[in-house]
């Protein structure tokens, strides 16, 4: 693909065009310069593929549903509460939990890039990083919800949180009816990733 002048001057244009080869070339160069340990890359990938993901957030939500004192503390100072569970870290240094009710449904986006609470939800899904989600959800959240098969009652207001700073937002979805008496592990299974971003609802028992 031909480049315009400005693009051609960009250093990245000196790399191979194929992205897989770009990664290899950059990793090779940075390794030779002593800036990268390839084993550290393996460790980072393993962390986000196998250790840190949306089950962390699901535990927080299930506990908030079943423990009123925990819920109150979470809404007051989410950063401290999730840190106590071992879920503090990169891209989750400043946490706020927002609770869905009959009157308000919360959704989270980063219109300017892709900010997301990694320690609680892992790597953001493809759609969260897509132009369509970033462009549309602030202007037409209900149409975006429809893309996920979610329809809200007219009396429920939508509040969309645009993550323009380093604050990271976790949605506490509404606890489904018919879950009285379920233990934390059973509740966790109802907490989907999308319900903690606000594009979904918690599952039904």
């Amino acid at each position: 693909m031909p480049h315009d002048h400005a693009s051609h001057d960009d250093p990245h244009a000196l790399l191979p065009v194929d992205p897989a080869l770009r990664v290899k070339a950059l990793e090779s160069l940075l390794t030779k310069k002593g800036l990268i340990d390839p084993a550290a890359l393996d460790e980072i990938i393993d962390t986000y593929e196998n250790k840190i993901g949306p089950r962390n957030g699901a535990l927080v939500v299930a506990r908030a549903w079943s423990n009123p004192a925990f819920r109150a503390a979470l809404l007051e100072d989410a950063t401290a509460v999730v840190a106590d569970l071992g879920f503090y870290g990169r891209q989750g240094e400043h946490m706020v939990a927002v609770e869905n009710t009959d009157s308000v449904h919360n959704m989270v986006v980063c219109t300017l890039c892709s900010c997301y609470p990694w320690p609680l939800l892992g790597i953001p899904p493809g759609w969260y990083k897509s132009d369509a989600y970033r462009a549309r959800v602030v202007r037409e959240p209900r149409k975006v919800l429809a893309d996920f098969g979610v329809v809200l009652p007219d009396e429920t207001a939508v509040r969309v949180w645009d993550s323009t700073a380093e604050m990271r937002y976790l949605v506490i979805p509404k606890r489904p009816a018919g879950t009285e008496g379920m233990d934390e592990a059973a509740l966790m299974a109802l907490v989907t990733r999308d319900s903690m971003i606000g594009t979904g609802l918690a599952g039904q028992p």
């Binding site: 693909m1 310069k33 990268i36 400043h94 493809g126 149409k143």
Partner: protein, 225 residues
Amino acid sequence: MSRLHDMGGRFGDGPVEPEAEGVIFHADWHPRAMALTVATGAVGAFNIDMSRHARECLSPKDYMRFSYYEKWLGGLANILVQTGVITRDELAGLTDPAPSPLAERRLSADRVAGVLAKGGPVERPSDVAPAFVAGDVVVARKFAQNAQVSGGHTRLPSYAAGARGRILRLHGAHVFPDSNAHGGGEAPEPLYAVGFAASALWAHPEHPQDEVVVDMWQSYLERGE
């Protein structure tokens, strides 16, 4: 609008396509691109605001044709050259790579867990006293542009520029990206969650009760009526 990344409210994009929770990456090279970016960032040659600005400064043509992690790679290559960590000739493979003086800060595999768990908090003590309290009416700055650097980094989205909202909460004093992305220091100042009625942002809001909350630094805001 300052640059293409500032796309909130734009018309013309298609449907959002949900995907299963187990899908983390979409190509074999994606996890490597993610990890390479995280590990290089840990060396500390540039901060996160500089890193975001480097992606935003990709030419409009590149920004639109690149997939997500291609933007990361493009931004990473550019900022490494701009900060002098690597040279253009090294990037082009025209010369043997010279050992970097930053190599002593290399993220080794045994430090990964600790560094990821430590993160990079940005709340700071600040001399700037909060000017607003929850409930105050405010107006966002007219221009979604960096006030000091033409074409510089800002986190004020254009759809909220000039709009009237109300303070929901004070988050504390945070590093100011508009300064920190350009060598101006961290310049921490109060950061607020500001609520805007959908009708204050859009000519055709979906629902009269809907709103958008934007995190805004104090210097993005003026007192409203």
